[in-house]
Amino acid sequence: MAEVLALRVFDLDAHYKDFQALWAVSLDVKKGEVVSIIGANGSGKSTLLNTISGLLTPTRGTIEFFGQEIGDLVPHKTVAEGISLVPEGRRVFTRLTVNENLVMGSYVPRSRPNKNKSLKDIHELFPVLKARQNQMADTLSGGEQQMLAIGRALMSEPKLILCDEISLGLAPMIIKDIYKRLMQINAEGLTIVLVEQDIRRSLKAANHAYVMLEGKVVLEGEPSSLTEDEVKKAYFGL
């Protein structure tokens, strides 16, 4: 496989006002890979995703997407470039129907013309979303909402999808199902970044893993090369 870099984050700092949340974070994601970022609460995982998608502007360092600098782009520009975010806690549009939520996903002009085809694809991937297409999103169960959030992110026909804690608060059976679908779309060529607290599951899915602690990357490598002990130490900062 030709090793094309989809995403290169280099020496990245980010602040919330005076509080520094990211410290010189560097990370590479190759095209077609699944990369896992694990870490405890407050380790900066979500901040990193929010900075990549443009919700937060980095204070230092660079973010390159297929060789193009995107560090200072606002969210509606990064999604136009092909980066889609599945936000933490699902955050579906509760007072819109399931289909309207999905259509929102293809809001950017680039993906608008293929809206109907994408909708069909998502309905195939998650049949339950088709069955519930005219229901209000807040009537869905947690697992269904997570599928909707993923489906919505896929509607923009992204090259890279950033998933923030998709297993949070879901039953193991449902998590397993959602991961199966994610691996299926990865097999079709989509690059995926997973942020998780569920270490075992996300290490199993990933080609490459990063462990974050207090806003820094403290360990990285292929999941097979990382021992459980190493990961534990990095995760808890022992």
Partner: protein, 314 residues
């Protein structure tokens, strides 16, 4: 049954508008006056609903545009003899320009600060206009329509802005902008990551609201004949609009229709007891908020499970 009502709704609505269209021929002056007020308040309230109910912009300064629209019509007709309906249109344009200017400052604010910011602008305009020689200070201006117009013409103009405002908001909600607005209302940050340009969408709504509010006010002041800053830029305007939208149902298209009807009906029946009328209106608003927080239409929609003017794409 539900389906039958739903499918026939356009005919019913068309028939309703048609009936309202022949009100001037019925010869009942009170009915004409009543319907005119209803349409004017409907247009003003529908715009506040577009801002507060759909765009998350709580404006307490709609009276800026009411006053601007009214004063433009007064100045144009008094000093320049401009054709009266052109004056009304210009009132809308000037209001939109004022909105654009205001946005430079208040769009940096959010939530309650935005609300206060819009209010402060209105108060500043009130002071400005009551100290401005050009607009005859606080004494106010008479509106001298050119050419002289009849009540029937004013009525039809009101009908156009009333029905037009509903059609406009319906159109906006069915458009791409509208879907973005509704998503924004539910979750602003996430809608941004879907590609919604939040700032621009809000600005469009604010300017559309300013334009329609300004033109509607122009028609209203042609009817009232006389404009004074203390009335035109008073917070009372927005208080009335909030009342209408809250009791009717915020964030629904039908809410302002029902709310405007209830409001005009109440304010006309209570007109004789002016001193207590505001108390009664206030009590009604509190009751509705306690019993049916989503307003009359919002609650009905939830109970019956269908919307007459649904912005949904099915």
């Amino acid at each position: 049954m539900k389906k039958a009502i739903y499918n026939s709704r356009w005919y019913v609505l068309a028939a309703l508008v048609l009936i309202l269209g022949i009100v001037p021929l019925m010869g009942d002056q009170y009915l004409l006056f009543f319907c005119m007020l209803f349409f004017l308040y409907l247009a003003l309230a529908q715009m506040w609903n577009l801002l507060a109910g759909y765009s998350g912009l709580i404006s307490l300064g709609q009276q800026s545009f009411v006053g601007m629209g009214g004063y433009v019509v007064a100045v144009m007709s008094n000093y320049y003899g401009v054709y009266i309906w052109l004056g009304v249109l210009l009132g809308g344009v000037f209001s939109a320009l004022l909105g654009l200017f205001m946005s430079l400052f208040i769009f940096r604010m959010k939530g309650v600060y935005f609300a206060i910011g819009t209010w402060i602008f209105s108060e500043a305009l009130l002071i400005w206009f009551s100290n401005w020689e050009y607009t005859k200070y606080g004494m106010g201006l008479f509106i001298k329509p050119n050419p002289n117009i009849s009540m029937t013409e004013i009525y039809y103009a009101s009908l156009i802005v009333g029905v037009g405002s509903v059609a406009l908001v319906y159109g906006i909600l069915r458009s791409k902008l509208g879907l973005g607005l509704m998503a924004m209302r539910d979750d602003e940050a996430v809608s941004e990551t879907m590609g919604v340009e939040v700032f621009r969408s809000k600005l469009y709504c604010f300017l559309i609201g300013a334009f329609v509010t300004g033109s509607t006010a122009g028609i209203l002041y042609i009817f009232q004949v006389f404009i004074q800053p203390y009335k035109a830029f008073a917070i009372d305007w927005t208080v009335k609009l909030v009342f209408i939208v809250i009791i009717g149902g915020i964030g629904t298209l039908e809410g302002p229709i029902v709310g405007a009807f209830v409001f005009v009906l109440l304010s006309q029946t209570l007109a004789e007891y002016f001193s207590v009328s505001m108390l009664i209106l206030g009590a009604i608003a509190i009751l509705v908020i306690l019993i049916a927080p989503k307003g009359i239409m919002g609650t009905l929609q939830e109970k019956l499970g269908f919307e007459i003017l649904s912005p949904r794409r099915k």
